[in-house]
């Protein structure tokens, strides 16, 4: 039977009724109508469902929705503001760091969480930071380039 669950999603507190067996990913997609996070495997292998939970990247398919009670969740829908894209999103657009786009919400969330904790990474650091995100289209070259460019812009913007 569905149980009440309180989450802060993209800065807004939400009270939902959610099945006890639902993953955070299913909760976001089916109950909160936020379909940006993708279900590529539902096994924690592909990273397409990555969101930030209290600021840290997590694979939302492996987290029971109710275990995230009272947590602060940021999804891809929460990055852009009325003023425009986040630096990471902007860099992915400008550097062509996306093709089919299915893995991109996860990659951008991984990169966003990583850069918040590591503002001045090496290229190798970035390759390891996105090591939990599978992408079949890009070969990662332009993804890495985009994350490095975003890091630089975020540093200079500060």
């Amino acid at each position: 039977m569905k149980q009440p669950l309180t989450l802060t999603i993209n800065g807004e507190s939400r009270l939902m009724l959610v099945e006890p067996y639902y993953s955070l990913l299913d909760c976001l997609r089916d109950e909160a109508q936020l379909t940006g996070a993708k279900k590529g495997c539902d096994e924690g292998d592909c990273g397409a469902c990555t969101v930030l939970m209290d600021g840290k990247p997590v694979t939302s398919c492996l987290i029971l929705a109710h275990s995230a009670h009272d947590c602060d969740i940021t999804t891809i829908e929460g990055l852009a503001t009325v003023d425009g894209l986040s630096p990471v999103q902007k860099a992915f657009v400008e550097h062509g760091g996306l093709q089919c786009g299915f893995c991109i919400p996860g990659l951008i969330m991984s990169a966003t969480g990583f850069l918040q904790a590591n503002p001045d990474p090496t290229e190798e650091d970035v390759r390891f930071a996105i090591g939990g995100n599978l992408c079949r289209c890009t070969g990662y070259a332009r993804v890495v380039e985009a994350v490095m460019a975003a890091a630089q812009e975020m540093r200079e913007g500060r």
Partner: protein
């Protein structure tokens, strides 16, 4: 970069980039309709068995279940994805592989649908089965399709499990082998490969109140699945609308009908929208991957390296059904080389395992691994440099390809020279390090293509094509339209399409869209220019031939200040005699245009573990005019990485007894991750294609062909062992280092005898 173009040969962010980086892009699994039911499938647990009893009564009466269907709920019509109609959309009596869906449930939610699947009772009577394709060709092997000769499309009889045989012959092969100074013979084996797209198969089917079926699909070919759906459901094409949603990767796997018929029939029976989203395990076990390929290859060569004869017998395992048409490997048995005498055979052989599907130029990567490894073997046998051997034998303009078409102007030699310079070939390296080369060839894809462009009153245009964007092609097509019309990219809006709106077109696959569909777009734009010129002549009161057109402006050639801009003409057209302007174009095929790529790998082999690390990977490809260089490089980056996965880690494994997929997850099927890879190094060669849009060639297929051979050749250069089987896992390379890599058994004499060819 200097360029003659205003829009092309410049980097443009994708037209769909904002949607994709904000999570707004809508894929089929993101479609939620009111009252929507969830669909789940019951897989067969046997690889060849008669269904004796299939009892769905308990499942059907389970609370929350709205409908259960099995094979007999579909019309009794055979269906085929390839040359043969060799299957039912859902088996009626006999299952042919472990994982084959035999029932589908629609329920209020996914959990209830899964409970119902558990309640379906099945009894099987096992039939003799065969899993190994080489065994399947022998006498005494179990027969996968006893009714094969009755199938529509079957054209010959060459053995009870042979679905297809493609052949190509030229010259006097046997004499040429006798005259050769040396003969080099090899057998190669390449593994099963999953396409690895990130978006699982997904579909939402809905029935409109008027009875029309609407299918929101994840597909590369909306018109093709519409036709197949009409066939298996026995309803007219006009009663089906396919909405192609954003495609989360396909690479060939989504070219044809997959599971759309299940939610479609359930929606027709319940009157409710029905959604089916595959799990990753279902993607691996139900939807056709590439299956293992065995390649026998033999060459007759002269002392100076000239190849005079080639014989190649290739066995393509096609699994339970011909899910991908006849393999396209046949033309690639000679590679990118001039070979005056050849005998090439490609067999498609049925086995009781998952059916074969398409993947990024199906079969060509397997052929390239064999041919390009074999080239190095020839070089070493003759004591020649592998680079020089390739240059000596490479195709030249005017040579005749296997298809019979004459090779037009191309940049093959430039690609070879580019990688030679960039990797500094030949070069002495420390122990355990090595260099390897591969040459790849493909052709620019053809097929029916259409485009319609309408001019808006503010001077913008709306571009409508039926093709699904799988590679950034919407952006490239917009760039082509903008270039042809002399307007900036921002003024081109690319319409989202479905089969009701856009004109018919072929599938997005085979590196076809920019080359063929792009030509249609270019011609549609030229159609608009002609109409605008006529309108301008009318408005300016001068004959059309007195007008020039440049930078989105039509002017009087004798008096340049007198003219009208594209925007002024667009506004004027709305109330003109001819009315608002639409440009259209159609074509059915395009001339043969080859695409060549040369690649070089530098590797490090760990002698203790056999692990291979790719330190550098360089590719040079003749892309003709690079419409959007950033997108072109993106295709090259991604293609090579898929090829590196094929070379080193990816290996779809099958149980030798049951044929079941043994590693149906991303944790066990190992695709490259960011930290596994070297930096991307690309050289774009531009020899404009005589026929492509503004000289563009196809791009997407060749990058993935080269890595297995280039890396295998580099491993040989590094540690002196020749590995002829993929992937080049640590285990396999270590075995080779320990002298334990046995040659692959292949009875070529049996195949020659079957054709009446005498033994040597």
């Amino acid at each position: 970069m200097t360029t003659q173009f205003k829009v092309l040969e410049r980097n443009h962010p994708r037209v769909d980039a904002y949607d994709k980086v904000t999570g707004r892009a809508t894929y089929a699994s993101d479609v939620y309709l009111p009252g929507m039911l969830a669909c789940k499938l019951l897989p067969s647990t046997r690889n060849h068995a008669r269904i004796v009893r299939l009892d769905t009564s308990k499942a059907a009466s389970h609370p929350g279940v709205r409908c259960v269907i099995t094979g007999t709920d579909f019309p009794d019509i055979r269906f085929g994805s390839g040359a043969l109609r060799d299957r039912y959309i859902m088996p009626r009596e006999v299952v042919n592989f472990v994982g084959e869906p035999i029932a589908a449930v629609a329920a209020d939610d996914e959990a209830t649908a899964l409970e119902a699947i558990e309640l379906i009772e099945v009894e099987y009577e096992d039939l003799p089965s065969v899993v190994n394709p080489l065994s399947a060709m022998g006498t005494g092997a179990a027969t996968v399709h006893p009714e094969l000769e009755d199938y529509e499309g079957y054209g010959f009889t060459l053995g009870h499990n042979v679905s297809t045989l493609l052949d190509a012959d030229r010259g006097d092969v046997d004499q040429a082998f006798k005259d050769a100074d040396a003969v080099v013979e090899d057998v190669y084996r390449s593994q099963g490969i999953n396409q690895g797209f990130l978006e699982p198969m997904a579909c939402v089917a809905d029935v409109e109140p008027n009875g029309r079926l609407v299918v929101y699909a994840s597909t590369q070919g909306p018109y093709q699945i519409r036709a197949s759906l009409a066939g298996v459901l026995e309803i007219p094409v006009s009663r089906i609308r396919v909405v192609a949603m954003e495609l989360g990767g396909g690479f060939g796997a989504k070219l044809r009908l997959t599971f759309e018929a299940f939610p479609a029939l359930l929606a027709m029976k319940t009157g409710r929208p029905v959604k089916l989203v595959n799990t990753r395990e279902e993607v691996f076990t139900m939807n056709g991957p590439r299956l293992p390929v065995t390649n026998y290859i033999r060459s007759g060569v002269m002392r100076d390296g000239t190849i005079v004869a080639r014989e190649a017998y290739t066995i393509f395992d096609v699994g339970a059904y011909l899910g991908a048409g006849p393999n396209s490997g046949i033309g690639h048995g000679i590679g990118a080389y001039r070979v005056p005498n050849y005998r090439l055979r490609s067999y498609g052989v049925y086995t009781n395992k998952i059916y074969v599907g398409s993947y990024r130029a199906s079969g060509v990567a397997d052929m390239t691994f064999a041919v390009e490894s074999h080239m190095d073997r020839i070089a070493h046998e003759l004591g020649l440099d592998p680079y020089d051997l390739r240059v000596k034998n490479a195709l030249r303009e005017g040579d005749v390809s296997v298809s019979g078409a004459v090779v037009p102007t191309n940049g093959l030699m430039e690609t070879l020279e580019a990688i030679k310079e960039k990797i500094d070939w030949p070069r002495d390296l420390e122990d355990g390090h090595g260099l390897g080369l591969a040459l790849c060839e493909w052709r620019s894809g053809s097929g029916p293509s259409t485009a319609a462009i309408s001019v808006n009153d503010d001077g913008t245009v709306s571009l409508l094509t039926g093709s699904v964007d799988i590679s950034g092609s919407d952006t490239s097509l917009a760039a082509i339209a903008a270039e042809a019309l002399g307007i900036p990219m921002e003024k081109v809006v690319v319409a989202k399409r479905d089969t009701d709106l856009a004109p018919y077109t072929g599938q997005s696959g085979g590196s076809r869209i920019v080359y063929s569909q792009g030509t249609a777009v270019q011609r549609a734009a030229e159609d608009i220019v002609q109409k605008l010129m006529a309108l301008a002549a009318d408005r300016l009161g001068v004959p059309e031939d007195a007008l020039g057109c440049e930078d989105g402006r039509v002017y009087v050639m004798d008096n340049e200040p007198q003219g009208l801009t594209f925007t002024q003409l667009a506004a004027a057209s709305i109330t003109s005699r001819g009315g608002p302007i639409i440009g259209t174009a159609s074509l059915s095929s395009m001339p043969y245009t080859p695409v060549f790529a040369a690649q070089a790998a530098e590797v490090k082999v760990d002698r203790e573990t056999g692990q291979v690390r790719v330190l550098r990977y360089i590719q040079a490809q003749d892309v003709g005019t690079a419409i959007n260089p950033m997108a072109v490089e993106g295709q090259l980056d991604g293609g090579v990485v898929q090829g590196i996965g094929r070379a080193l880690t990816e290996d779809q494994q099958f149980d030798p007894e049951t044929g079941a997929v043994r590693n149906p997850s991303f944790a066990s099927y190992l695709m490259p991750l960011a930290m596994d890879l070297p930096e991307s190094e690309i050289v774009l060669i531009n020899v404009p294609a005589p026929d492509g849009p503004f000289g563009a060639r196809a791009v997407a297929e060749p990058p993935g062909f080269g890595p297995p051979a280039a890396i295998a050749n580099a491993v040989y250069d590094a540690v002196g062992v020749r590995v002829k089987e993929l992937p080049l896992s640590g285990e396999r390379v270590l075995a080779a280092l320990n002298g334990q890599n046995a040659d692959i058994d292949f009875d070529v004499e049996a195949l020659r005898r079957a054709e009446g060819i005498a033994a040597d």
